[in-house]
Point group: C2
Chain length 336, copies 2
């Protein structure tokens, strides 16, 4: 079996850490793994599922002889340095938003548009977390009858904002329980016992960048910019796994039974839809699961050919690290 | 000034307690207030904004010579006993779902359909909490250009499920912080650090009863059963105040500036809509506020003549006790 030299850039961050776990869990054929981070972390030993590893200081020299370089850094960093890794022959799989809408860069969700991955010119972009789980959940229906409109409202976990955001939520919860004032740093308002309808910066049209990512990235992944999409992105006090309430309209009638059958038959989707107490997925139980979970499947009574559903997935896994590793797996398996 | 004999049935519950506070805060012209609850609570003294009051055991004899009887009990109790109060000449304002869809009972939100209140035959129904704030927020737009479709996803506070639900959330949070297992009793799953897409029982069509309340009650309050409505009702770990992400389509173009102006001019609505960090309402800061708060007003890019907005209100106040007292105030002021 061919084995590959793999580098993770940003290995100490939330997504970097999950990349190590996912590479181990998926038994990715690694020859040598290199973990890069800032100089501050260099020399640090990490006990990981891949054994004890040592963090090395980031430099572009490290990209020599790499097969796959996973970028788990911010957009500015990826924009500057990912091309260096690609120039040295590695395939870059970038988790930031830097290249996602770049015409020359495929934006890939393996369950939806696997072929796009093979058109890369050295860089492949990993979509935004809230987009990935939505397109995974909707693709089986979209393949059966084209989706012409999507209205989605999200319930997004704090870990989407990084490790500090988790710490802030837990610190605030402790304060609130002890009747002490909660300190606000990572979010614009207290997130403990609250919800915040604002993720990423505001755009000219009143939507946030997170909301417009769901629009534009879905267009690109489905290769269908005529789909009408509106998103409401909201942060909730959940540690991990994003939830989405989705209403769609399809070109022709699908119906609830057919939609459920399509979703049940789909790869990497688990349907939990019992219409009784507990008969639906929630973020707590979907944390550290690889599948995208769907429940509450029903005909949307407010339009022709409409469906409503509830979708939950671990946004650090399927929404980030897992999807990135699946892209590498695709390339390893070779074109279908 | 005429003063009125007022009775609260279910005075020890979450809504009953808020009714006492709201009657005091609004300086409702009370001659005598009577607090009724189960025999278990009879004789209990309550320090309230109306002074020290004593809980009396519920019996239908207490309805003699009452002007207003607020029912804050469950639907079965209200169904059985509200007609007795009405028969004795009181106006019943019932917070349960028992009479809401009854053709002979007005379902009233004073900002929306005040005239309906005057058609009562002894009983007036107070709508469901999630319905009230939605119709308050949408009515100014609906009056300008008829709303033909509503898609709403809710972020509902635990206090909508009663005092025990608040206790359960806080107890679970303490357990989670101490790395202990969380006990689940009030909700179908752990609510701390989770969200649950299920409020009230499932219906034949796959929607929950809470979701269908938003549909059917809005039809009745707007007196327009042709409005297409789909709701996704979700419980979130927030103590108090419900939030709603709402997408609407109107008959003709309204536009964001006009929508904002209509909302800003409307009675009992506060618009917070700055498109910058913190420039939107969240449940934490809207708790114990009387207004319905609206933000994130923008044109819905996914349809013709569409608008999206975010609406937050204290569901124990505007969604229950306050709306009930406002109905009584309407009747006291007399027909407009």
């Amino acid at each position: 079996m061919t084995r590959y030299n793999v580098t993770i850039v940003g290995a100490t961050g939330a997504v970097g850490q999950e990349l190590i776990r996912i590479l181990a869990l998926r038994e990715f054929p690694i020859k040598k793994i290199t973990l890069l981070a800032s100089k501050r972390s260099a020399g640090k030993k990490v006990e990981s599922a891949l054994g004890e590893l040592t963090i090395e200081a980031f430099s572009i020299d490290k990209f020599e002889n790499q097969d796959f370089v996973f970028f788990a850094t911010n957009g500015d960093h990826a924009k500057e340095f990912a091309p260096h890794a690609a120039a040295k022959g590695a395939v870059v799989i970038d988790n930031s938003s830097a290249f996602r809408l770049d015409e020359d860069v495929p934006l890939v969700v393996p369950e939806v548009n696997p072929k796009a991955a093979f058109q890369h010119q050295g860089i492949i972009a990993n979509p935004n977390c809230s987009t990935i789980q939505m397109v995974v959940a909707l693709n089986p229906i979209h393949q059966y009858s084209r989706i012409k409109r999507i209205v989605v409202s999200t319930y997004q976990a704090v870990s989407g904002a990084g490790q500090e955001a988790i710490t802030e939520l837990m610190t605030q919860l402790k304060a609130v329980i002890n009747n002490e004032p909660a300190q606000v740093e990572q979010f614009t308002k207290q997130i403990a016992l609250n919800v915040i309808p604002h993720i990423d910066v505001f755009q000219e049209n009143g939507y946030t960048k997170e909301e417009m990512k769901m629009v534009k990235e879905s267009w690109k992944i489905f290769d269908d910019p005529d789909i009408k999409i509106s998103a409401n992105c909201v942060r909730v006090p959940v540690i991990r796994a994003h939830s989405e309430a989705i209403n769609i309209e399809t070109d022709s009638y699908v119906g609830e039974a057919k939609a459920r059958a399509l979703l049940e038959a789909a790869q990497d989707i688990t349907v939990i839809d019992e219409r009784e107490n507990g008969g639906y997925p929630t973020p707590l139980e979907v944390s550290e699961k690889m599948d995208t979970y769907v429940g509450r499947i029903r005909e949307d009574i407010s339009c022709e050919n409409g469906l409503a559903l509830w979708c939950v997935a671990d946004q650090l896994w399927k929404g980030a690290a897992l999807n990135a590793v699946q892209i590498a797996e695709l390339l390893v398996r070779g074109e279908q």
